[in-house]
Amino acid sequence: MTDPVRPVLHARGISKFFPGTIALDDVELRLNPGEVHALLGENGAGKSTLIKCLTGAYQRDAGTLLLDGAPINPASTAASQKLGIGTVYQEVNLLPNLTVAENLFLGRQPLRGGFVSRRRMNAMARETLAGYGLKIDPTEPLTAYSVAVQQVVAIARAVDMSGKVLILDEPTASLDRDEVALLFSVIRQLKARGLAIVFITHFLDQVFEICDRATILRNGRVVGDCALAEVSRREVITMMLGRQLEARVHSKKTGTVGKPLVQVADLGRRGMIEPFSLDIHEGEVVGLAGLLGSGRTETANLIFGAVMPDQGRIRLRGTDITIRTPRDAVAHGFALCPEDRKSEGIVGDLSVRDNIILALQARQGWMRPIPRAKVTEIADRYVRALDIRLASLDTPIRLLSGGNQQKALLARWLATNPAFLILDEPTRGIDVGAHAEIIALIDQLRADGMALLVASSELEELVAYSTRVVVLRDRVQICELTGDQITPDTIVQAIADDPHPHAEPV
């Protein structure tokens, strides 16, 4: 409370619970007038939940929201818009077949004798847009213009209607460099007018270019609130990926690294990930590190056949194999626990029992059903081994907490007795207890001689279980760390080195 400036928007103690998870835990966000404020964090850190709580799309479960010092409780996005909080999303949510002017004034058209006055509306639109340095014909349909112009129209509409706080949710994701420049010039003008702007992106260089302050979220908590002039890129990455657990995780990494099991050569897919090569040995955990969008998930999906590569080859125990579909991969003893548990992992309405047996049964084929007694035995074994907490094996899996769902998915794959296990963000969105158990399990599987490839945004975690770490940036493999090189510091260094091409001043 030492800040002399009264914030335009001040969110305090915001919490939001979803069944089984805490999406936001006592989050604070201060937006000063004339400030561009970055909201940073990995996927699932709570950025979008926070935004939804601010705009009234979600009702917060605890906390206060102050606008110009007065408490507000917007019940909907329309209500928050009226109060002065406007939002522009990555996918422009305007009506493409209406004209620019109509989009700007939809629902608040200037009237004349009960009818819309088109002439006045177009004139007003022209004037408004000129204020943003945009000289376009407002009578043209919106689709006649580029995404960047559409963004600016959306911003103009939001500012016009709200005028205090502007939230930009990944506005630059689909823009090229010149378009980003146009957008930034608009943001600077708005900043000069005294608006408070929240800027969400995963392009760090853009954050350093345009933003004044940043609030960094991780696992639903605020882990940093700082002026960007005072911190380095590396410190920001450290906060995003976390390292405060560093002291207490250190793996013994016993057991020996065996023969190469899977050898990937020049595997790649245009527009998705640059060709890469990777050897994974028996009794080894290869960690995949990198920021969001660096290509971690893409690497995992490509090896597993979830996405078809357009070049490269895979060898298993020295022999070439063809993997076109996940089915091929499973047949070769591969397994993948995907990042998006809900849409790619669990089969929600099926029981935990069926979910655990699914991959094994799919591999055996429908003609050879696994007897029910055997199914129960397998499911029971893994429920006990992994300490999955549930009412009964017949419970639909969607009713389980995130951590227990993840363990059931691990059980699904362990039941197939895989030689090669790929885990994509195995600990995302699960509670601390399950978190530690999964890390211990990874270590044990490695010690038992399994080959593992683990993609994670949690650095301490990677350091804890990896025998090797491959660092990715912008869909390119940039380096490989082994042995003592594997520390959170070296990983962050590797990620932060050699700034992003976008970082050049525009």
């Binding site: 069944p19 409780n73 979830a306 849409s343 029981s351 049964q361 084929g365 009713l399």
Partner: protein, 352 residues
């Protein structure tokens, strides 16, 4: 999963109750409803009629249940019936035996199913659109085969499939009961049922778990086509003629309705063929009420609509959801609503 008997019973209990009510309505209107005697070498009675006349929809709903379990729908079954009936009739008219005619009809139905399956599973066309193509085109094909008239035939073997009896029991009843039993056994004694359910609930997860979803999808449409073909042959055999204009007309809707009355979600996932078959019998019992009531035909659709509306209201998801919430809400800690938490703080804020 082939659960304990009590689980199956719990699943089909609503359908059994509704069927009992529907049959009771019949008895109220026509006290001799359950009377069955043996006449002209066949079982003769209203109950037999319900089972016999329900055969086409029962056969259709076996395939339809599987298709709907994969989050699909097959609008073409009525038309496929007409095509299969026309093929069978034209075969026997040209002098082939009834076995050949039946095989040809099944082949035609299988081809139709395969076509739907490829459109849905390979070309990824929305099932409702993909099967609509055949629904529209198929009747034209059937009319081309019969040249637009009722193709009458006298082949005893073929006629036996629709109008004959085995040990006094009408053949269509035996066919649908047998096929239903085979289908239920097949999906529950093998892993087929679970894999189909998995695809219907979350296809992406299922694919990543190594399920060959494309082949399975094609298969369910194939099965639906085969069931429709068999239903089409029975309907044609029943009247000793293939009526391309009217055979199977709107029956796809009855089949979908039977699946829904069977408590299966149109959004796919968990399914019960047994419950769908009961649904088919419920629909036929309602038809029986209408016919036995002796009311003028202007009332037919009104009565049917009202009875079905009543059934659907009883089974409505809202009521099911309420029950589910009552059960599920217990152990889960419910987050408190925002206002309750923020109000005291707001007071503090104001006091400052």
């Amino acid at each position: 999963m082939p659960g304990p008997k009590s689980a199956i019973l719990r699943r089909i209990a609503p359908q059994l109750v509704i069927l009992a009510i529907a049959l009771l309505l019949n008895v109220l209107i026509f006290p001799d409803f359950f009377h069955i005697d043996f006449r002209n070498g066949r079982l003769f009675g209203n109950l037999i009629d319900v089972l016999n006349r329900g055969a086409p929809v029962a056969l259709l709903c076996i395939g339809m249940t599987l298709v709907i379990a994969t989050r699909g729908i097959d609008l073409s079954v009525g038309t496929v019936m007409a095509v299969a009936g026309a093929v069978a009739a034209s075969m026997v008219v040209e002098g082939h035996g009834w076995g050949t005619a039946l095989l040809a009809a099944l082949l035609a139905g299988g081809m139709c199913g395969l076509w739907n399956g490829v459109l849905v599973a390979v070309l990824r066309i929305q099932p409702i659109v993909a099967t609509l193509v055949l629904m529209v085109a198929g009747r034209g094909i059937a009319q081309l085969i019969t040249e637009g008239r009722i193709l009458t035939f006298m082949n005893e073997g073929l006629i036996h499939l629709g109008a004959g009896t085995v040990l006094g029991m009408p053949t269509p009843i035996l066919i649908w009961v047998t096929l239903g039993a085979v289908a239920i056994t097949l999906v529950r004694r093998t892993a087929l049922g679970m894999l189909i359910e998995a695809i219907g609930i979350n296809e992406r997860s299922s694919r990543l778990a190594g399920i060959n979803s494309r082949v399975l999808l094609i298969c369910v449409y194939l099965v639906s086509g085969l069931c429709a073909a068999l239903a089409g042959v029975i309907v044609a055999a029943d009247i000793k003629g293939a009526d391309a204009n009217n055979a199977g007309l709107w029956l796809e809707l009855d089949a979908i309705l039977a699946v829904v009355i069977g408590g299966n979600s149109l959004l796919g996932g968990r399914f019960s063929i047994l419950a769908s078959l009961l649904g088919a019998m419920i629909i036929q019992s309602i038809n029986s009420v209408i016919l036995l009531s002796g009311l003028p035909p202007e009332f037919n659709l009104v009565i049917k609509a009202l009875l079905i509306l009543a059934i659907l209201v009883i089974q409505s998801p809202r009521i099911g959801y309420l029950l589910y919430m009552l059960r599920a809400a217990g152990p889960q800690p419910q987050p408190r609503p925002g206002t309750a938490d923020t109000l005291p703080k707001r007071k503090k804020e104001a006091a400052r």
